[in-house]
Structures are given as structure tokens and as C-alpha cells.
């Protein structure tokens, strides 16, 4: 079995590339602190979301100083909140999203950002983002969810701290 010297060299370079790719992603996870959506969100009964303490009244909840929880229900073909009422959070805050689905699989994408997750019935996708200055963002469903999938959209408004009049969700 003859393996040409150049080929051995390329094998080494290819392995180096692969290790480099894994190292970059590991840096992103550890150094830049980017966590993946995992199983921390737990499960819910998709048939009984109305009885859920938070998904029963989805929206923005204050969880600490400059910290907010946003509960979002994705359903054919709207986000609650997001579609009829925008998701409103103050600038320069830490926002944790909890996203689930009331029916089929949906996607939840804050357009032009890295905030992006699947919404799977029975599962809660939880992820935290840092929002900076005031800006409006679009939200869309990026997984096919039925015949009006293309109409499933919403907005998120990051408002200046002094104009923010408190979270809308809960009582």
C-alpha cells in the first residue's frame, strides 16, 4: 500500500483543520460564553398550556434588576406575545426567553440576530440574551408549520429604560 508523501501531508493538514474548527466552537462556548439551547427548559403539556402558571398568561415577567423572563407561545400562525402585541423589553437588560408550541413544530427567530430556536410542543426552549440599545426587531417563524406559515410573524421592541412602563405579563 503506497501512500504518497503529499497525501500524508494533506491528511495531517485536514486533521489540523478539523481540530481547529472544534477548538473555535469550544472557544465560543467557554470563552465567549455562548450556550446552546438544551434540556433545562423542561417539559409542558401542550394540551394544557392555559393551566400553566406562565404560559397560561404568556408575556414579559420581571425576574430581577434589569432581568426579565419572556414566555412565548407559538401557535398556528402567531406568536403570543409578538404578533398582536409586540414583545416589549427595556434597553440594556438581560432577557430570558421561554418558548413552546401549542400545536405543531415552529421556529422562533429574532431577525438579524443570533436569537433563534425551535419551538416543539411539549418542550420549553430556554435561552438568555443581552439586549443593548433601543431598537425594533422583527420575529418570524422559520419552520414550516402549515398553510399560512409565511404569515407567522411578530415584533420585539427594545425601548429606552425611562420609557419602559413595566412588564405586561402576569398580574
Amino acid at each position: 500500500m503506497e501512500i504518497h508523501a503529499y497525501e500524508k501531508f494533506w491528511l495531517a493538514a485536514a486533521l489540523l483543520l478539523i481540530v481547529g474548527l472544534i477548538a473555535t466552537v469550544s472557544y465560543g462556548a467557554v470563552g465567549a460564553g455562548i450556550e446552546m439551547i438544551g434540556d433545562e427548559g423542561g417539559t409542558v403539556d401542550p394540551e394544557a398550556l392555559d393551566d400553566h402558571p406562565k404560559f397560561g398568561d404568556p408575556g414579559v415577567y420581571e425576574s430581577g434588576e434589569d432581568e426579565y423572563d419572556v414566555y412565548v407561545v407559538a401557535e398556528q400562525f402567531a406568536f403570543r406575545p409578538g404578533t398582536s402585541d409586540p414583545i416589549e423589553v427595556p434597553a440594556n437588560s438581560t432577557v430570558t426567553f421561554h418558548v413552546t408550541s401549542a400545536d405543531v413544530i415552529h421556529g422562533f427567530e429574532v431577525v438579524g440576530t443570533n436569537a433563534n430556536t425551535m419551538a416543539i410542543p411539549g418542550q420549553v426552549a430556554t435561552f438568555t440574551v443581552e439586549v443593548d440599545g433601543p431598537r425594533d426587531y422583527g420575529i418570524l417563524c422559520n419552520e414550516y408549520c402549515g398553510s399560512a406559515h409565511h404569515a407567522m410573524e411578530g415584533t420585539m421592541e427594545v425601548v429606552p429604560e425611562d420609557e419602559y412602563d413595566g412588564p405586561e405579563g402576569g398580574d
Binding site: 503529499y6 493538514a13 481547529g20 460564553g33 450556550e35 438581560t94 438568555t128 440574551v129
Partner: protein, 78 residues
């Protein structure tokens, strides 16, 4: 190594009527001028091409990861 240095290559007709019987697509061996064995052949051009590819991959990966991805406004931290 050349068996012959110059060789006539009559243009094969592209019109179906002009084509000689037995016309073949991809008749590579027709144009082979010399035989090279494994030991006579160093794929130096391949090495060059593949190294250029390697550099493109590495640079574009770094750009996509550190500029396009980590440089985005809202990023997931937990």
C-alpha cells in the same frame, strides 16, 4: 517520456451525420501521449490547489465565526 510529441487532432464533427461510427463521449485514452506510473507521478499541482483551498477555508471560517456570528447585536449567552 513522450511517445509522440505532436499529434493531429481532427475536430470531431458535432453534427450527428458527421460523427464517425463508434463516436465516443469521453474517449480520454485517445489523447494520451504518455503513460505515467505511480512512482513517476508527483501530484504537485494537486498539492498547490488543495493548499489554496485550505487557506480559503481557514480565512472564511474565521470571518464567519468571529465577524458574522460573534459580531451580531443580540447574542445568546445562556
Amino acid at each position: 517520456m513522450s511517445i509522440e510529441t505532436t499529434r493531429e487532432h481532427p475536430e470531431r464533427g458535432d453534427d450527428p451525420d458527421d460523427r464517425p461510427p463508434g463516436y465516443v463521449v469521453g474517449s480520454g485514452p485517445d489523447d494520451v501521449e504518455r503513460e505515467l506510473s505511480h512512482d513517476e507521478f508527483d501530484p504537485i499541482g494537486t498539492l498547490g490547489i488543495i493548499l489554496v483551498y485550505f487557506v480559503i477555508l481557514a480565512v472564511m471560517w474565521a470571518f464567519m465565526y468571529f465577524v458574522e456570528f460573534l459580531g451580531r447585536g443580540i447574542t445568546v449567552v445562556g
